[in-house]
Point group: C2
Chain length 444, copies 2
């Protein structure tokens, strides 16, 4: 394989009329006697290559099926206008192959043909054969979006003075008091996987004022739904010297607007066509806000029921999403004024302790972010822990932090996979995860 002179497929656009070397995977193959039309795929794109009787083939030529790795040498030509493939950047070009080397043939028949109807393949099959199905241009595109969202998040946060941190995933105690954590055998001792970087990012406010973290979190929730993962990537933030949660909501809105602009501008149109992409709709005046009490009224009215729901469920979130779109032309809606009893103990209560200074952000009918101001006074924290039926003793180290001097502060956690799922209209959050982990799946 002449790797020294190899160029990537996207660079054929600059090499029309020239002889070049390409290498990649056989995405599609149509044989017509001695002539073969192959769609060659590499990390940068897809190009049709034509091999004829005159093509010199080397390597294990008998058995090169779909997804075989091949290397080809030949001239890049313009295709006749009526044969141009408009879905591809390189669809107006093809290569006339002089030499073809079979580098890594796929010996046996593949379990599935990823070039055909990737949308019709059953979710379980898509996930079982992930190393193969991720190669399909549509699946690739999902993760290009996901990478761009993360890039936008990081760029915004850094420009805003946040410091990026890495906090431990192995932790000595369950953050929120016990449920839904995975237990790890740590040299014979029981420890846990972090459900969120909550306590650590708060500690880091004392150091850098404003921090963010992008990393895995682990939730031992037994739910098997289209929106739950047991391991996911959380985009976390925590900032000091805030007035209240409204400042967090403002910052988060700016951040999302920045990401929206970046994705709109930097993801190529061809990629956007492969998924159900549409620009994010956020009203000029900002993301609309609604209290939980109002939200529940709207939901109950829509359902025609009189259930006294105290929190949002899946259907409720969907109804709120429709409401936000209809009433405000907004893809997002903030829900505020959550009662103290249904939120974690570390969230700052209102003066009368009825509500917390917290919010959820619903994106196209799905909870995307939870955020709040935190309690920064150690005595108030002890009171809150007790009110939540927990023991201050268990949280001694955490409470001690606030004796070292902590400013008013707060932050949020945003699920990257959910963001991607909702934005691209994917039916299942697993499709926005390279190798999803759920109650039934730890493979591949």
């Amino acid at each position: 394989m002449d790797l020294k002179n190899r160029i990537q497929i996207k660079d054929t656009l600059k090499n029309v009329g020239k002889e070049v070397t390409l290498a990649g995977w056989v995405y599609r193959k149509r044989d017509h006697g001695k002539v073969s039309f192959v769609d060659l795929r590499d990390g940068s794109g897809i190009l049709q290559i034509v091999s004829t009787g005159g093509t010199k083939i080397t390597g294990e030529k008998e058995i090169w099926g779909l997804e075989s790795v091949i290397s080809v040498k030949g001239k890049i030509k313009k295709r006749p206008p009526h044969l141009v493939n408009k879905d591809l950047e390189t669809g107006k070009l093809e290569m006339e192959v002089k030499e073809l080397e079979v580098v890594s043939p796929t010996g046996e028949a593949l379990p599935l043909d990823i070039s055909k109807d990737i949308d019709k393949i059953h979710l379980d099959t898509l996930l079982n054969y992930r190393p193969l199905t991720l190669r399909s241009p549509k699946m690739q595109t999902i993760f290009k979006f996901s990478e761009k969202i993360e890039e936008g998040y990081r760029e915004f946060m850094k420009a805003d003075g946040f410091t990026e941190v890495h906090t431990p995933k192995i932790i000595p105690a369950a953050t929120e008091g016990g449920a839904n954590v995975f237990r790890v055998d740590y040299f014979g001792k029981d420890v846990f996987l972090a459900q969120s970087p909550q306590f650590y990012k708060q500690m880091m406010v004392g150091v850098f004022e404003k921090v963010f973290e992008i990393g895995p979190v682990f939730r031992a929730e037994p739910h098997f739904t289209s929106r739950h993962l047991n391991e996911y990537t959380s985009l976390d933030a925590e900032m000091g010297f805030i007035k209240d949660e409204s400042e967090l909501m403002k910052k988060l809105t700016q951040c999302i607007l920045f990401i929206a602009g970046k994705v709109k501008k930097e993801i190529p149109a061809a990629d956007k066509k492969l998924v159900d992409y549409s620009d994010l709709r956020i009203p000029k005046g900002g993301i609309p806000e609604i209290t939980l009490t109002e939200a529940v009224k709207i939901i109950n009215k829509s359902r025609g029921s009189r259930d006294e729901a105290i929190d949002l469920d899946t259907e409720g979130e969907k109804i709120l999403g429709e409401y936000a779109l209809k009433k405000y032309k907004s893809d997002f809606i903030f829900v505020t004024e959550y009662p103290t009893g249904i939120r974690p103990f570390y969230q700052m209560p209102t003066e009368d302790w009825r509500y917390t200074k917290s919010f959820d952000l619903i994106f196209r009918g799905l909870e995307l972010v939870t955020g709040a101001q935190r309690i920064h006074d150690p005595e108030m924290l002890v009171t809150s822990i007790k009110k939540h039926g927990l023991s201050p003793k268990e949280f001694k180290d955490y409470i001690d932090l606030f004796k070292y001097g902590m400013p008013p502060h707060g932050g949020w956690g945003l699920g990257l996979e959910r963001f991607t799922k909702q934005w691209l209209g994917l039916e299942n959050v697993r499709l926005a995860t390279l190798f999803p982990r759920d109650v039934k799946r730890v493979k591949p």
Copy 2:
């Protein structure tokens, strides 16, 4: 607290002669009768503020000790030339405080004074009181370097066409055959924490050709040394269509040079002074290379011993580091030609199977990177698994990947904390970790 008009300390440089509001932590405090000199610290820097009998103090004023959070309002003035603190950017300024609000007082005496001799505090104490000790400017600086190294790595990799990925940390089987993995209770089933993204990043070469990942890895190694962590941040990379491992070594060298330039340029001189920083030395012709056989000879000669060492130990790495510096004026040296038997089964062997196409990179006498070309032929992989005394059955899913068509490829893993430790001359890798995890420590 007038947060609306608050500015950060670094911005006092632009506000000389003006009245501003600041908020932060009491880093140092010297009382002279009615006059107090306070070094106020926020996320951006340190400024001396002077409160006098005329200062109006509100809040719980009796008990504001070190690390209390306070907010102050007053005029920014230039200090007399003989009182300028040259170690600080803002050392030529001070604030004459009109109003001071005690926001979060530290009631009790703190366990230690971080403004005094942070270098003399015992490592265990530094780590036990991490939320406090990380606030010291020196500790902060370590993580600013670490953030910049990561930033440089990401910037280089993205510019070079690598796609950033997140692979699962919960995995069904131990990557390299069993030892040194942490076991997780996953809904009653035994699974493991990933020691590296090895298999997953290889799968992703089939998708994007070139990928990188920055994330936590978990090693259940029982070593208690100054260079081992049981959880650390790994800078991983994997790329397809390579000729051999020399291409990886070249790419890695370019990447390190890029990071070196970025850190040199973008980290302020004042921060560099706080740690034992020096620019990275890499010869014009690139990082020197040495085979393991040669390396062992040099080490044995230096030790005056005739031990037939087959791999490098801590002392051996140190000797090699000194050798590289003396002979090549280089902070780095590549060690190559590791025998097959002491390297993982997935590394590509040389034609005679004596060596692997792999390398280690020693940085100032410490192993920083391990890299290699990988086996991409399923039959060769089965042979290698057997030669390593392992069972191909256990690696069925992994072997199957190579039946889907994989190009020649390879990659590396680089430990972020070790990079920071060696670069800044820290005595222990734990100091380059916010909240280190070792055999004895999972707290805080």
